[in-house]
């Protein structure tokens, strides 16, 4: 992957973000007290509500393998820096967080994110089949309104009963409820 198109896309996106105020799109709130947020605290205060909600970056821009593989993948630091080489943040608190990204890139030390969504080792969840069946916008079905979350937290239980409920509801579409679809 070459860097140039990434940069251009990011410029376009940030331009879109600037015009968001005038068009009345979603505006991420200012978070002054992070202690009150749900979900585990992360090494960098990465705001899904800004990136995905306000700036409207599609989920699969960063989690690109969700539609083609079983794993959605955690974006490489290179993906962050592709944009944040140029975008430095508008407020001091944003600038401080973006600086952490740039420092990590310079020191070649990727951040250690705390995992929010995890399945037990004996469960296989093919992301690609769910996206194929439910569409590219369907991430929220399991992960909740991530585009409104300043800090990501787990919305669904991810327990088997919760999985099966959906599979049962979709019975007319011949969604399998066989055990070995997920357990092997």
């Amino acid at each position: 992957m070459t860097k140039t198109p990434v940069v251009w896309l990011c410029l376009a996106l940030s331009a879109a973000a600037l015009s968001a105020q005038s068009t009345g799109r979603y505006q991420a709130p200012v978070v002054s007290d992070t202690g009150g947020l749900q979900g585990p605290r992360q090494p960098i205060f990465f705001r899904h509500d800004i990136h995905s909600g306000q700036d409207q970056i599609p989920c699969m821009y960063c989690h690109y393998s969700a539609a083609v593989s079983s794993e959605p993948g955690i974006p490489a630091l290179q993906t962050c820096i592709g944009c944040h080489q140029l975008i430095g943040g508008s407020t001091p608190s944003h600038q401080a967080e973006i600086k952490k990204v740039r420092d990590a890139w310079r020191e070649r030390k990727p951040p250690e994110w705390t995992r929010v969504h995890a399945l037990p080792g004996f469960v296989r969840f093919p992301h690609q089949r769910h996206i194929k069946a439910l569409g590219a916008q369907s991430c929220t079905k399991c992960h909740g309104e991530v585009q409104r979350m300043p800090q990501v937290y787990q919305v669904s239980t991810l327990r088997m009963g919760w999985c099966v409920r959906c599979h049962v509801a979709n019975k007319p579409n011949k969604v399998s409820r066989d055990c070995t679809v997920c357990h092997y």
Partner: protein
Amino acid sequence: MTEGMDRRRFLKVLGVAGAGAATLSACGIGPEPTEKLIPYLIQPEDQIPGTATYYASTCRECAAGCGIHVRVREGRAVKIEGNPESPINRGRLCARGQAALQGLYNPDRVTGPKVRNAAGGYDPIAWDDAITRLQAKVTAAQGHGIVFLTGADSSAFGDLVDEWMHRVGGRRLSYEPFGFEALRAGNRLAFGTAAVPAYDFANAKYVLSFGADFLDTWLSPVTFQNGFARAHGFDGGREASMAKFVFVGPRMSLTGMNADEWVAALPGTEGTLALALAQVIVSRRLAPLPADVGRLAALLGRHTPAAIAAAVGVEQEVIVRLAIEFANAKGGLAVAGGMAAQYPNGAAIVAAVNILNYVVGAVGKLVKFGPDLAVGDAATFGDVAALTTDMAAGKVALLFVHGTNPAHSLPGAFTQALGKVGYTVSFASQLDETAAAADMILPDLHPLEQWNDSRPRAGVFALQQPAMQPVFPETRHTGEVLLRVLGRTGTFQDHLQTRWRELHRRFGAGQSFEQFWMDAVQHGGLYGDAPARSVRLADSAARIFPAAAALEGSGDQTIVVFPHPVLHDGRGANKPWLQELPDPVSKIAWHGWVEVHPDTAGRWGVATGDFLLLKSAFGAVSAPVWITASVRPDVLAVPTGQGHAAYGRYAKNRSFNAFELLGAQANGYGGRTFAVRATATKTGEHRNIVTTEGSPRERGVGSVEVLSLARAKALIPGGPPFHPTGPSSVPPSEETPEYAKKAVEWWEERQFEQAELGDYQGEQPRWGLAVDLSKCTGCSACVTACYAENNLATVGEELMQRGREMAWLRLERYWLTDEHGRPQGAVSSPMMCQQCGNAPCEPVCPVYAAYHTPDGLNGQVYNRCVGTRYCSNNCPYKVRYFNWYNYAEPGGAWEAWPEPLPMLLNPDVTVREKGVMEKCTFCVQRIRGAQNQARLEDRTVRDGEIVPACAQSCPSEAIVFGDLHDRASQVSKLAGDPRGYHVLAGLNTKPAVTYLARVVSDG
């Protein structure tokens, strides 16, 4: 069944009432403890998380040079598969090749450079210091003897060693403990060329092997096995239905047990027998004879069957019959190797077999000079013996050792001589016996981590590329170390590319070099043909004298030492997969043995497991007896492979080293003699040797069906099946007798009623497997492939002794005997879960962990299993395996994967815990993977798209997987073959595995 509360409902209620409070915390259900997610800095372009990437490379576990695809997940190699494009192995791979992963992630690897200290231990050293020291040593040693010892290595690396040795006035020797000196010397005697030709088994109509173990270790086993299965397998309706295979040798090896007939000639007389066959063919003009055959008249005249029958120990009539069969087959191929090429007269034996090939016209057709095999370039044992003498005399100031372990295969002489060498540098990646005696260890990368190439045979240029970053960052490519000391810049990859520019000039017309190189890397090399070269009888052919020569030593026993089919010369001994893999013939694991004929054992009063002290003129070993009729009564046979004094936790101090019995001097043709005279005395000790022979899992019921060729030929393709005669066997048409039909229908209806719980009613595949026993050789590649794919734990010798091995797929070996009860061969039958349509395991599970899936599998839900083991009790095939301990527990008493071995675990398969039952799943992860991919591409799964690990590795292509509901699928066709039968079909289990009966050629 009566209405009301059935057993399952009862248990369910009991569970809620009695253990309600425990349900939340039990079974470990729920997300795992908080984990950290560490992203890549830069996402590798060729890796998608959750999806495997395949890298083409070349297997370096033996000199055959099979092409491989390394499956890489998230940057680590997790499985090795054959490269379908390679003309050497056509996508197939043996057990040893599969187990290369356990070399890569071996817990006993040397992790960084070391140098010996004054106290005799090792101190770590920095690479720069090590190389400076190395250069100083070379400068000091110049003119005082510098030797570089490698394994068989016709590669860019080998050439670099040659270049360096030339520069510093040293020499390189390549040493293989089981060399091919006799083959080369015999070819020189017969045809005046020392080349090792290619053998075309696939087109042979009759195969006669004089000792050559072409299915286990000889030259290029995967190539040969693939070809052999094509020739020897039975195809219905084909004109010449199968090639007969006759094995000549004092003991039955894996190759020998696949024979239709075993001729146990006296050891060392194989050549005499070959000449007698040639004599019959020539004197009776059974084949169109070559013009110059007259030159052999005198030689053949001395070898009439009548004259030699007694010396060979084979009846005259048998010799004449074999000659007639061999000639009449019009396409007979004779090969000499293995034991026959390891006697003092080995070269003459090979030459005699060459003559036999020559008179029937096989030379040039089935024995092809031109596309010669690379092993022909290795040094002779004579050279190595001379080196040992030089070393002992203090004439070697500096010795380098790479890729070979002479201190193990030459235990006495070489180890002693090693003490007289000025300075020894080892490039071993594991601390083997030779490395343990070295002054400096500069650990090389594993072949899966490095660039190199090799030339397995003329015309084939195989490339080896790193499939992953080095497991241990402080190990270094020896090629790169050499480039440094040669003062060159650039990496070994650059060096390799520079060399490949030469190939580009020759073969890359119309392509840029970059294109040519990328193409070669992608396909695993450059696959071409070498022009055939015709050979003629040399003058020396008429002067050969193949009569058996006296063996060294004075005992009353003849002992033959043979290479272990999976541990080979011992290089596989520190890989638990290979240790736990039962030897295909003896079925013994984790230990060595001595083969003793029942008559001899009876005379001596020894039982299997009793120790014999074997004493030759060179050394002595104490070995447990395995009583078998597959060895001549006057011969004892012992395998190599075990008895390491170092090398690692799985190999060290295990069993005995058979090399101790052998001499260290070269014989007449420069080879090593692997047969000695010795004495055998009872020591009084006893050991329960671990064997799966007659394992309780077989339940004393033979599961194989054998047809004579005549009977098989009478079967009409598409016609009714044969009538099996084995226990509990009935033809498929009679599997459900009239009286049982009602019960079966009721059960099937019940299953469809339960379909409301799932989607049984939709159009679903029925996965099935067909196993052609006529092709299966018992080589056990499938077993190791299954271990690798499905995260099977190795349990070790003690637990295996208690029958707790986890081999989802086991090979049951059954002897085929003649009218005197003497084994003529054996049938091996892969036994895995039969995925019964009417499975006994399912209804007895109280928690629905064993259940029937809509696509016809017997599902096993690990997280549901509570370990009652009822399913295993009720399984008539005994293919369910229980986790008695937590084999995955780090540091646990039964730990199967000490660091860094867990890196080879397949992330697509759950690692099972203690208390859980497991079994073959038909590689359900591959089924689901293919279904996911098909769904993405809006299509259905194609026939042949899903290949379970066993079927994928099988060198003889004996296993075929597919959908039995699809009438056009390959497996459906095989399942309908008139040779097809189900094991224990009389139990009405309706298995999804169809076996095709073994066909034995009756002449």
